[in-house]
Each structure stands twice: as structure tokens, then as C-alpha cells.
């Protein structure tokens, strides 16, 4: 699903964000990208979403070399990827239903299809009864679920969560993980970017540890450096 091949990324001013990153995340995997702030996690995400291009090396998403992707094709790449933001980024003036529908409305999905799809997504994240509520009236956990719902609206093949537990208490973190696992169980490749080691390790999934722009370890907890790679 995602392949990085000798990827280097430098920002202006001799600022190296990624150094020779080489990895492969397979379709249907559930992966944590772990690292302290400044380790290159954000850059890693930006490269996948094609917000940035690597200085050297290649990034493939769903079999497409992103270097070959034209500017106009970027939106279509992003429709295959669902993103859950750390701060959720819900639209406060729209209902829960409309927040989820928004992702479909702005990508030319027909209103019939939206009426069909949104209830399914709301059921999946357990918010059917809150469809008409506005985000500011919801609890943090509920807002989190709306954010996941919106990311799942397109039935993405790849679901990315950027520090999904950064803003919430441990009970809600667990709740979020359950949602992501549920999405993974219905077929989505899930990439969780986080700095929270404990939570990542408790889940028992593959962890890619980034430090100063390099992949330090890659594997499941308890396995050695470089284990379960590829």
C-alpha cells in the first residue's frame, strides 16, 4: 500500500527531516509510526499525502509512484486516503451528518449515494443517534468518532490517524484505537502516527520507530531491531 525507497527529505536551510527511509506497509496492515516530535513523522505523512515531495528517493501509494502524479491528480489520490487529525477539524456550523457528508459532497458524490453512505458510516462509529447534533455540543469522544467517520466516508483503502490520542484522556484513546481496529477489520490499511510509546506497544502491532529522520526499529513489540520488516 505504501512504499518508501531510500527517501530523503530536506527543507531549506540544511534541515534534514528524513534520511534514507526505506519501508513497505502492506495492504490491510495496522502500523504505528512512533517517534518524538521532530523525528520526521509529519514529513512522513506529508509525503504520503503528496503535500511534499521527497528530495531524493521514491514514494509509492497504492502502486502509484507519487513523483509521476500530476498536480491535478492529487485530489484523486487523497480520495483513497482517510485522515483523522489530532484536533479533529470538524466544522462547528454543520451537523454530524453534514460533517461526514461534507467529504462526499465536495468530491462530486451524488446526493443519493451520500444518503446511502453516511448512515452506514455513522452506524460504524456509533453516532446514529447524534446525526443532527452540532460538534460543539458533543463530548470529546463523540467528536473523535465524527472525525473518524468523516475519514471513513470515502471507504478509503488507507486510513491515517495523526496523533489521534494527543488531545484526549486514556479511556478515549482506547476508544479511538478500537475504532481504528474496526476500520482495519473491514479492510482498510491503518497508519497511526504518534509519540505515545506505551499505547503503541500495548496494541501489539507493528511499530516503525523514527528518530532524527531515520527508521531506528521496525517490527512488532518484543522482536528485535529490523524484525518483521517488509
Amino acid at each position: 500500500m505504501i512504499r518508501f525507497e531510500n527517501v530523503y527529505k530536506e527543507y531549506p536551510g540544511d534541515n534534514e527531516a528524513l534520511h534514507d527511509v526505506d519501508l513497505h506497509i502492506k495492504r490491510g496492515e495496522f502500523v504505528f509510526v512512533l517517534g518524538p516530535s521532530g523525528a520526521g513523522k509529519s514529513t512522513f505523512l506529508k509525503l504520503i499525502l503528496r503535500e511534499e515531495s521527497p528530495t531524493r528517493g521514491h514514494v509509492w501509494v497504492d502502486g502509484v509512484d507519487l513523483a509521476d502524479l500530476k498536480e491535478k491528480q492529487i485530489p484523486y489520490l487523497r480520495r483513497k486516503i482517510g485522515v483523522v487529525f489530532q484536533d479533529f477539524r470538524l466544522i462547528p456550523t454543520m451537523t454530524v451528518y453534514d460533517n461526514v457528508a461534507f467529504a462526499l459532497r465536495v468530491t462530486d458524490v451524488s446526493e443519493d449515494r451520500i444518503r446511502e453512505r453516511v448512515p452506514i458510516v455513522l452506524k460504524l462509529v456509533g453516532l446514529t443517534h447524534k446525526a443532527d447534533a452540532y460538534p460543539p455540543t458533543l463530548s470529546g469522544g463523540e467528536q473523535q468518532r465524527v472525525a473518524v467517520g468523516r475519514a471513513l466516508a470515502h471507504s478509503p483503502e488507507l486510513l491515517i490517524a495523526d496523533e489521534p490520542t494527543g488531545n484526549v484522556d486514556p479511556a478515549m484513546s482506547l476508544e479511538m484505537m478500537k475504532l481504528l481496529v474496526a476500520a482495519n477489520n473491514v479492510g482498510a490499511t491503518v497508519v497511526v502516527v504518534t509519540h505515545e510509546q506505551d499505547m503503541a506497544r500495548r496494541m501489539g502491532k507493528r511499530i516503525i520507530l523514527l528518530e532524527e529522520g531515520r527508521v531506528v526499529t521496525d517490527g512488532k513489540p518484543g522482536q528485535g531491531k529490523g524484525g518483521a520488516r517488509g
Partner: protein, 302 residues
């Protein structure tokens, strides 16, 4: 783009205008003022052009004749005038005819003219001379005024020159205004759109991440910018045409009975309204789109 998507995005644009009410009203107002000023200059310029054309079509000079000459001498002079190349016609009017014409034009003042008939008639016998090409009028006029028995030649030449100078100035000022006020309008619309963009930056970011194309992201802002332009266009058309209707009638009345001028020198409302309305709408749409494009450019690079 699907019809339902278009409707949704269109609605989003109108919704933003309502949320942004104060700014919308302000920019429609500023834009209207700009357009009204431009429109007035444009109409003035168009009328001067029309006056020039009207004068050009007249091609007629009035040759006043020496009072002392006899009828035969006058007729002889007429032959000489007709012999000048470029003269298409020379019609003789006795001073009695001139008097009758004048009293007919000034009916209601008939008593003034009663004592002026016969020997007391102060008017000149005259030839009205038509030329085939208006450009030749000046030269032919000079030639005729050099002939014996000719007291004075009046031609619209001076008027033509005056109008021409005036027209040039007005046209230059108009274009200056169009350029200056155009820039002001684009900046005003651009600022309004920028406010909306700022208010909706969260939505724009989300749109980018869920894979909305730039066309989808831009459309609501275009709807807003162009609607502001169209509203200003309609409003200023109403104002300018209303004022024009009132002024054109008055101006036409003033030109009635003036030498070398006539009420049909002023363009009638029916001739200008489609141009004004069409021009303003086009101008509004153009400025709206331009303002939107310029203010959105940097927000689309995510």
C-alpha cells in the same frame, strides 16, 4: 461536476454572503460607486461621439449675404457657389423666409416680429450650402467667404473642433477612471473574498485532505465574488439609467432651436440602456472573478 454538487457549492457561496453580510453590503456599495462614476464618464463620451456624428451628417453651412445686393446678383452668386467642387447643393432663402422661419421657431413671441417685416427686416438673405464630404467643409467655407457679396459664413466647423477636443479629453479621463476604479474594485472584492476564505480556512483544509479538486474549492468563492459583481452591476445600471433618463430629456430640450444643434444629438435612453446594463454586468462579473482569483491563489497550494 454533478448538478447536485454544483447546487451544493452554489448554496455554500450564497450562504457565505449572508454570514459575511456587512462586508458584502460594503463591497457592493463601493463597487456600485466605482461603476456609477465610470458609467457617467462612459455615457458622456458616447454622447460626444454621437454629437460629432450628428454634426458630421449635417454638412451644411449658412452663407449670409450682403444686404446691398440685388436679387440677380444673389442668384449669380448661387451659380458660382454651386460651381465649387465638393458642393452638393446651395439653396437660396430670402430674408423674408429667414424671418418667417425664426418667428415660427419662436412662436408665442410673434408680436416681436410684426414690426420687422419689409425694409425693417434685420436678417440676411442666405444660402444654405451642403458639402458632400464633411472634411471639405473648412476649405469650401474659406473659399466662399472670400467671394464678393458674402457677409459671413457660419459652419459647424468650430463646433466640430470643440467637440473633438472635448471628446478626446473625456475619453482619456474615462479610461483613466476605468483603470483606477477597476483596480479599486478588484481590491475591494478581493478583500471580501479573503475574509470569507479566512472564515472558512478550516473547511478549505478539510476539502483539500478529502480530495476536493481546486475547481470545487474555488466555486463557492466565485459564486460570492461574481454575485457581488452582478448586484453592483444591476444597482449601478439602475442609478445611472435613472439619472440619464432625467438628464437626457432636459438636455434635448435645451438643444431645441439652437443653431447647428438639435435634440437628436443626445442619445435616447432606448439606445443606451442595453449597453449600460450589459456593460455593467460584464464589468461586475469580470471584476468579481478577477478579485476572487487573485485573493484565492495562495490558499490553493496545499
Amino acid at each position: 461536476m454533478k448538478w447536485s454538487s454544483f447546487r451544493y457549492l452554489f448554496g455554500q457561496g450564497l450562504h457565505a454572503m449572508r454570514l459575511n453580510r456587512m462586508m458584502t453590503v460594503t463591497s457592493v456599495g463601493v463597487l456600485t460607486v466605482c461603476m456609477v462614476i465610470t458609467g457617467c464618464a462612459g455615457l458622456l463620451s458616447a454622447n460626444l461621439t454621437s454629437m460629432m456624428e450628428w454634426l458630421g451628417r449635417q454638412n451644411e453651412m449658412v452663407v449670409m449675404l450682403d444686404r446691398s445686393a440685388t436679387e440677380e446678383e444673389y442668384l449669380e452668386l448661387g451659380e458660382e457657389i454651386r460651381a465649387i467642387p465638393g458642393v452638393s447643393e446651395a439653396a437660396y432663402h430670402t430674408k423674408e423666409e429667414a424671418l418667417n422661419e425664426l418667428s415660427a421657431e419662436m412662436e408665442g413671441y410673434a408680436s416681436l416680429f410684426e414690426d420687422l417685416s419689409g425694409e425693417e427686416n434685420p436678417l440676411y438673405a442666405r444660402y444654405t450650402v451642403s458639402v458632400s464630404e464633411p472634411e471639405q467643409m473648412e476649405a469650401i467655407g474659406e473659399q466662399i467667404s472670400g467671394m464678393p457679396l458674402v457677409e459671413v459664413v457660419r459652419s459647424p466647423q468650430l463646433l466640430v473642433d470643440t467637440f473633438l477636443r472635448l471628446q478626446r479629453t473625456v475619453r482619456a479621463v474615462s479610461w483613466g477612471l476605468v483603470a483606477l476604479l477597476g483596480i479599486v474594485s478588484v481590491v475591494v472584492i478581493g478583500n471580501t473574498i479573503r475574509l470569507t476564505v479566512f472564515a472558512r480556512r478550516r473547511e478549505i483544509t478539510i476539502m483539500k485532505y478529502v480530495g476536493a479538486t481546486n475547481a470545487f474549492i474555488r466555486l463557492p468563492f466565485f459564486v460570492e465574488g461574481v454575485t457581488v459583481g452582478v448586484l453592483a452591476g444591476l444597482l449601478s445600471s439602475g442609478l445611472v439609467l435613472g439619472a440619464y433618463a432625467a438628464l437626457a430629456d432636459r438636455a434635448a430640450g435645451m438643444l431645441q432651436g439652437m443653431e447647428f444643434m438639435g435634440p437628436d444629438m443626445v442619445l435616447p435612453l432606448t439606445a443606451v440602456w442595453p449597453l449600460v446594463l450589459g456593460g455593467f454586468l460584464l464589468f461586475g462579473i469580470l471584476l468579481g472573478s478577477l478579485g476572487t482569483t487573485l485573493s484565492m491563489r495562495k490558499y490553493l497550494n496545499v
